[in-house]
C-alpha cells in the first residue's frame, strides 16, 4: 500500500484537520465529535442541510459545506458510516430554527445511523426530514436487495437542496426538491483499479491488468460484470445505456451531464469520457444544458469514472446555477 498518510488509524482525523486549516474562511471543524460546519454557523431562519457518510469519497461531503450547499458534513471512518453522536451534533449546529434536512446515501449503515440521529435530534427539539439518495443503476432496486446505492448523484442533490435552503424554502419544500433531484438522477461507474482502505492495507479487490469492473460501487463493491479493458468510447456506451434506459431519458430532455473521477483517474481521461458521452446524448436528441467534470465522489485512489445524468427542469436548473461557495464547488461569488 502506497499512500501519503501517517498512521492508518489517523487518516480521517488528520485529513479533516488539514481540510479545516486550508479553508478557514469557509468551514470550521469540530474534532470530537468529528464534523465540519460552515465557518459562519447556522443561518437563522433557514433550513439546515446535513450530509455525511464513510470517508474516502473526498471532496464529498465536507468539500460541499458552505454557502448555497451543505450546512455541515459528518465524515465517518473510511468507508464506514459515522455513528449517531456526531450526526446529532452536526444537526444541532446546523439548525437555524427552520429544521434540518438529512441527505443520506442509501447504504444500510448510513440509513440506520442517520435514522437514530434523526430520532435523537427530534428529541432535542429539532425537526429532521431525511432524503435518501439512490442513483446507481448498476444495482437493481427490488425487494431482494438493500435497494440502489447512492453515488455521485449525491452532489446534484446536495447542490440543489442547498440552493433551495439558501433562497428560504421551508423544510418540506427543500426535502421535496432534494427528492425530485434524486428521482431525476441516474449514475453508473466503472473501475480500472481498486482503492486500498488504509487500515486494511490491501486493495479492496483485485482486477487483472486487462480487466475492468462495470457498475462498480464507491466502496469497491463489485458491479454488474467484469470485462476486458476496451476503448473509452465503448465503456461510456456501457455506462450510458443503462442510465438512459432507466429513467428513461428521452429526446428533448435537458440534462446535466456529470463525469466523475474515482480518485486515481486524471482529468485528461475524464474529458475523453465526457466527449463521447456528450456525443451520444447529442445523437439521441438529449440536450446537455449543464456539465460538471472532475473528481467529486471518489473511492480513495481507485482509477475509474462514473457518469451521472440529471434531467433538469427550469427550477432545478436555476437551483444548480445559484451561487455556491464551498471548497470543492464554487461559482457566482
Amino acid at each position: 500500500m502506497k499512500k501519503l498518510i501517517n498512521d492508518p488509524k489517523n487518516v480521517v482525523d488528520e485529513s479533516v484537520a488539514g481540510f479545516g486549516l486550508a479553508h478557514p474562511d469557509i468551514v470550521t471543524v469540530s474534532a470530537d465529535p468529528l464534523f465540519v460546519a460552515r465557518a459562519q454557523g447556522a443561518s437563522q431562519g433557514k433550513v439546515g442541510i446535513v450530509s455525511g457518510g464513510g470517508s474516502g469519497h473526498e471532496p464529498l461531503h465536507a468539500g460541499f459545506v458552505g454557502f448555497g450547499m451543505l450546512s455541515a458534513a459528518v465524515p465517518g471512518p473510511v468507508f464506514t458510516s459515522p455513528t449517531p453522536d456526531p450526526i446529532v451534533a452536526a444537526t444541532l449546529a446546523s439548525d437555524g430554527g427552520a429544521g434540518v434536512l438529512h441527505i443520506v446515501k442509501n447504504y444500510t449503515g448510513d440509513v440506520l445511523n442517520f435514522e437514530t440521529a434523526a430520532d435523537l435530534a427530534d428529541a432535542e427539539g429539532v425537526r429532521v426530514v431525511s432524503v435518501i439518495v439512490d442513483d446507481d443503476v448498476a444495482v437493481k432496486d427490488s425487494l431482494y436487495t438493500a435497494g440502489r446505492r447512492g453515488v455521485a448523484g449525491t452532489v446534484v442533490v446536495e447542490k440543489v437542496a442547498g440552493a433551495a435552503a439558501e433562497r428560504g424554502d421551508d423544510l418540506d419544500a427543500v426535502a421535496a426538491i432534494a427528492t425530485r433531484a434524486n428521482a431525476n438522477t441516474r449514475s453508473m461507474g466503472v473501475a480500472l483499479t481498486s482503492g486500498t482502505v488504509p487500515h486494511a492495507g490491501e486493495p479492496s479487490f483485485v482486477l487483472p491488468e486487462d480487466e475492468i469492473e462495470i457498475g462498480i460501487g464507491i466502496h469497491g463493491e463489485p458491479g454488474r460484470e467484469r470485462i476486458k479493458l476496451e476503448p473509452a468510447d465503448g465503456i461510456v456506451d456501457r455506462l450510458l445505456a443503462p442510465i438512459l434506459e432507466d429513467l428513461p431519458f428521452a429526446s428533448g430532455d435537458k440534462v446535466l451531464l456529470f463525469v466523475n473521477g474515482m480518485g486515481g483517474t486524471p482529468l485528461v481521461e475524464q474529458y475523453i469520457v465526457y466527449r463521447h458521452a456528450a456525443e451520444v446524448l447529442a445523437e439521441k436528441g438529449i440536450e446537455v444544458a449543464r456539465s460538471l467534470v472532475g473528481s467529486f465522489v471518489t473511492s480513495l485512489e481507485m482509477q475509474g469514472v462514473s457518469l451521472t445524468v440529471t434531467r433538469l427542469d427550469d427550477e432545478l436548473t436555476e437551483l444548480w446555477d445559484a451561487p455556491v461557495e464551498t471548497a470543492a464547488l464554487r461559482w457566482g461569488r
Binding site: 464513510g54 465517518g76 471512518p77 473510511v78 468507508f79 464506514t80 458510516s81 459515522p82 455513528t83 449517531p84 453522536d85 447504504y107 444500510t108 449503515g109 440506520l112 445511523n113 435514522e115 437514530t116 448498476a138 444495482v139 437493481k140 425487494l143 431482494y144 436487495t145 438493500a146 446505492r149 482502505v197 487500515h199 486494511a200 490491501e202 479492496s204 479487490f205 460501487g217 466502496h219 469497491g220 463493491e221 463489485p222
Partner: protein
C-alpha cells in the same frame, strides 16, 4: 445456578479478545462481499466497550452493564453493524431489566429480545444472509434447551453452536440485505461477516458462562 454481573464482564472481556483476534479475518470476509471494514468496526467498538467497562461500578446490574455495551457500540461502531448490534444489546438489556441473576429463561428472554431488536432495525429474515442467520437459530436452540430444563451455561452453549452452524449456512446463500445484496449470485460461496461475528460473540457468551459458573 444462574449468571450474574461477572458473567457479563467476563463475556465482554472474552468478546474484546475474540474480536481483536479475528479482526483481520472479519475484514477479509467483508472484503469479499462487502467493503472490508467489519472487523475494524467491531474492534473499534469493543475496544471502546473495554475502556468503559474498566470503570464499571461494582454494583452494576447485568442489565445496566449490557446497556452500556449497547450505547457504546451505537456511538463507536458505525456502519450497519453498529446500530444493529447496539440495538441487540439495548433490547436485550431491557428484557433483563434490573435482575441481578439470570436463569435459563432470562437468558432466553435476553437472546430473543436481542434478536428482535436486530430485526426491528434491519428487517432481515432468516436466509437473507445477515447476522440474523446466526441469531435466529441461536434463539431457537436456546429456547429448546431451556424448555428441556438445561442450565444457563447449556442454554448459551446450544445458542452458540447453533449460531456457528447458522454462520456456516450463510455460505451458499444470495444476500437480500446489506452491502452483499448488491452482488446477486456472486455472494454465493462466501460466509456473511456479520453472521460470523455474531457467532463468535455468542461463543464468547457461552465460554464466559462456563468460566464463571
Amino acid at each position: 445456578m444462574s449468571l450474574g454481573i461477572n458473567w457479563v464482564t467476563t463475556w465482554v472481556a472474552k468478546t474484546v479478545d475474540v474480536v481483536s483476534t479475528n479482526r483481520l479475518r472479519l475484514v477479509d470476509l467483508d472484503r469479499e462481499i462487502g467493503d472490508g471494514d467489519h472487523g475494524e468496526n467491531l474492534d473499534r467498538g469493543f475496544t471502546a466497550v473495554a475502556t468503559k467497562f474498566a470503570s464499571l461500578p461494582d454494583d452494576s446490574t447485568p442489565g445496566a452493564a449490557l446497556k452500556l455495551v449497547a450505547t457504546t457500540l451505537i456511538s463507536t461502531v458505525g456502519g450497519a453493524s453498529g446500530p444493529l448490534l447496539g440495538t441487540a444489546y439495548l433490547k436485550g438489556a431491557q428484557a433483563v431489566g434490573d435482575a441481578t441473576e439470570l436463569d435459563s429463561d432470562a437468558v432466553v428472554a435476553f437472546l430473543t429480545a436481542a434478536r428482535d431488536g436486530v430485526v426491528l432495525r434491519g428487517k432481515a429474515e432468516v436466509g437473507d444472509k445477515t447476522m440474523i442467520d446466526a441469531w435466529t437459530p441461536a434463539v431457537d436452540a436456546a429456547t429448546a434447551a431451556a424448555a428441556d430444563g438445561k442450565s444457563p451455561v447449556e442454554v448459551l452453549r446450544a445458542a452458540a453452536d447453533a449460531a456457528a452452524q447458522g454462520a456456516v449456512a450463510t455460505e451458499p446463500l444470495v444476500a437480500h440485505k446489506g452491502r452483499a445484496s448488491y452482488l446477486g449470485d456472486r455472494a454465493i460461496g462466501h460466509r456473511d461477516p456479520g453472521a460470523e461475528s455474531s457467532s463468535l460473540i455468542l461463543a464468547a457468551a457461552a465460554d464466559a458462562a462456563d468460566e464463571v459458573k
